[in-house]
Symmetry: C2
């Protein structure tokens, strides 16, 4: 059935600090695509956009930050993508809202995309579309692009004061976007005093790293971290870009110290030089950029350096999914094997810990097929548990834990993989074929979606569609396990995860591994 | 509501000549994305893919042919896009069907995308998705990628026999795709003896140029040409690539005649060299490639060289849209001006013909606002009328004419632009916000969609939702005007278009103009 569409010369028009913007209205949802929130020269801090006269259209998504290598169209059934034209002039955001009344003060949810800090975009996944979340949750949804990889995270500070924060300008873009939200979102019907960051994978890391970023203080009030913890990320020892930058200069045929030339060399050449020299510098254990590193702007992993006073006040909803990246040659496709067929595979993968792991797994997941033990993640789950424990100590704000353990109707039953919860979070399972499971997925979507919305509204994810879900206490992790029958369990997988982390073959992230 | 999704280790699996493929089923629609239908070396004719053992997944769209320049994300409200990773290894097609029974013999509709012969892809527009068309029309929908621009259309024949058809290998890819359809579509529930080509803009040109391509004979049986005629396209005098290729070689630093190096030079370098040397060669009126040119493979524009015997037997549905590219600085946004405000604008645009044009316009479109005359197309409509006249002479098969004249709810009322009918054709107005007009767009979608489906089934677009729609006769063009109230008129705009073509400022297609 046709809906009502409006995009006239007079509406919908919203005043921002820099000028007027026109979006469109579809069936009551006001939509603005590709709002430029900042401008920046390469390696420099972002600045507010120049004011303009008249009305600018916000009807096309903005450029996406260039990547280090071209995407490969694979695995679309698991994670359907939407690729986009790329340019380093990429400081764009999108807004979906049900009202543009400045008095409405609806909760604001700002999506930080995954792809580590090297890839992805605000629209990279079909499931990132904000229309349904705004409509069914009555919230203002914002999603942002920002600088990535060597454009966003390459320390040139040894080469001049103007590059002081080049190691973290990608995150500075995010702060600029949050500043834009703070200054303008009221005119889009949002409450600048109730802003929730949510993100998955690299996007989850962005949430907690912004909790450790003093300039972001006051610009957001709650955080949702989905599959956003990995050990050894974002807390490299303080270092500088001397080696990697000089290696890039040499590769490009520039003289040592001619760093100014990096400001104008075509991105593709710079990326290609970086890709060539990076592995050797990384092998030496030296800084290679591409991720935030602690400095005055970003203070470091709170599990290592402690939570900032601001971070302590942030209510957090945090969790992972059952399988994450734990698939591979060792995991059979067919999930109707008998135990005696599975056990040899388990022994092959986990060695002498197998028997104990099997017992722990059956206790933690009594309704799962034993085959699923072969696809269990601990790489994300273990540091997430560590984060929960350390955050729960601070009683200023609650922390809620979840596990997404749904099995998808793929390859005769496949446990949840990295990114697979995102369509449920955005109420977008209608856009992602593999999420369709009659009798189960609609209910699960409602449970998850409403938890995220309730958390954004009040800092508490509890709602009438779920069993009671307490916040975690030190030593007592109450985890909402989202599945066909969602339930809360306390400390249900502590031993399982600790042993699994030791026994499972180490997953290697290569230089070019992209976290989606 | 959740639908039923199936993608197991046992279904849906279809046997093709080269091997088994697995797709997925959503709510009864069998879907196969990214089927490789051919392989080719650069500048060479395509060859069938190597057979394989086991089952290959067809779950991700395949690579798209690289473009000559990066796309710019603009105008998304009018034509929403889906960009995609690019590689010249791009011979992929997609299939949507309601059954995989070899006895089903459903009509097959093969979509040829627009973008001239230089850009675009089978999934470039959101509206190209084939699920709804297959589901609501009970047809098998196929869409294809093929080589474009200098990869698909660059004559190297003066440099060696191995390049004999390099001027048209992009079209040879399409023939290979049609051969794949002929050989395999029965196993996807399709009837290889009832294949309809349909395409818009460059895709429309592909339809009629394949009617003039002997090797495509017998591989398709009907053609739908949407906004697919422009004067001066695809009928350059026979010529060869000596000048342009030598200019590219020189620009790349290769010696004259070192054409073998073009086979392996990275595409980006070759495209960049081409973009640099092309304008000067074009200025001299010499061949620059990028489009099919007549040779033994493709015989030329039927309006110039005559219809082939095969082409004469092809029933055709053909038409254009009201405005096409006829927008610009001269066209005001506001459509509620009084006649005395509009007339000076009309005089400014059309000069001394204005008074007569106004009278002809009011007679042809009595319900349209006079402002729309400023946005009327004749650049596509005029050669389309010429095509109809010349095809109608051949009584072997009928030709039906349409005009899409719907006004969209944009900028206070905007006449149909190039590409704007596509969501209606594919039954995809639900995916394109601007197509939503309560009380009108659903009915119009049904009228257009069913006309295309009926034409694919029987060669006749008539159905009970439309007034009677006769085929055209020589000197008698019966045109179905699709609008809020669709109706047939005979020879309704002959004088209007003839005069408009003379009076309207010439639209310039630059070398880099992309026809979407």
């Amino acid at each position: 059935m046709a809906k009502k569409f409006v995009c006239s010369t007079t509406e919908p028009i919203v005043h921002t600090k820099a000028g007027k913007l026109r979006g469109f209205i579809l069936d009551g949802t006001y939509t603005f695509h590709g709002i430029k929130y900042a401008d920046a020269k390469r390696f420099q801090m972002p600045a507010p956009v120049e004011p303009w006269e008249g009305v600018k259209d916000a009807l096309s998504y903005g450029y996406v930050c260039p990547m280090l290598s071209q995407e490969v169209p694979l695995g679309e059934i698991m994670v359907p993508h939407r690729y986009w034209p790329k340019d380093e002039n990429c400081q764009y955001l999108n807004v979906w809202t049900q009202t543009i009344s400045p008095d409405a003060k609806k909760p604001v949810m700002v999506w930080l995309h995954g792809g580590g800090f090297a890839a992805g975009s605000s629209i990279e996944q079909i499931a990132y579309d904000g229309e349904n979340m705004s409509k069914y949750g009555d919230v203002v949804v914002v999603s942002i692009n920002h600088r990535l990889n060597i454009l966003g995270y390459m320390d040139l500070s040894p080469f001049g004061e103007k590059y002081a924060n080049s190691a973290n300008v990608g995150s500075a873009d995010m702060v600029a976007a949050l500043r834009w939200v703070h200054d303008n979102i009221a005119n889009f019907g949002g409450d600048p005093e109730n802003v929730t960051l949510f993100g998955q994978s690299g996007g989850g890391m962005k949430v907690w790293s912004l909790m450790q970023t003093p300039s972001a203080e006051g610009l957001f009030h709650k955080g949702i971290i989905q599959s956003g913890l990995l050990d050894g990320f974002l807390n490299s020892p303080k270092t500088d870009g001397t080696h990697i930058v000089n290696a890039m200069l040499k590769e490009l045929g520039f003289a040592e110290g001619e760093v100014g030339k990096l400001e104008t060399v075509p991105y593709d050449l710079m990326a290609s030089a970086y890709n060539k020299v990076c592995p050797e510098i990384a092998r030496q254990g030296l800084y290679v950029g591409g991720n935030p590193v602690p400095n005055d702007f970003y203070l470091g992993d709170p599990r290592v350096v402690g939570f900032t006073e601001h971070a302590k006040t942030i209510p957090v909803l945090i969790g992972t999914v059952f399988g994450e990246f734990a698939f591979g040659p060792g995991v059979p496709h067919k999930y109707d094997l008998f135990d005696d067929e599975i056990k040899p595979m388990i022994v092959e993968k986990y060695g002498e810990s197998s028997e104990e792991l099997i017992n722990l797994f059956k206790a933690a997941y009594p309704n799962k097929n034993l085959t699923d033990l072969l696809a269990l993640d601990s790489m994300f789950r273990s540091p997430t548990k560590d984060f929960i424990e350390k955050k729960a100590i601070h009683e200023e704000a609650p922390i809620f834990s979840f596990m997404f353990a749904f099995e998808f109707p793929y390859d005769d039953g496949k446990p949840a993989w990295h990114c697979s919860e995102i369509p449920f979070v955005f109420h977008n399972t209608d856009k992602v074929p593999i999420c369709n499971v009659p009798d189960f997925s609609d209910k699960l979507e409602d449970q998850i979606f409403q938890a995220w919305i309730h958390f954004a509204k009040s800092g508490n994810p509890n709602h009438q569609g779920l069993p009671e879900w307490p916040a975690c206490k030190p030593g007592d992790e109450a985890t909402m396990i989202f599945d066909e029958n969602s339930e809360v369990k306390n400390n249900y997988d502590n031993k399982l995860i600790a042993l699994h982390l030791k026994a499972a073959p180490k997953f290697k992230f290569g230089e070019e591994t992209v976290l989606h």
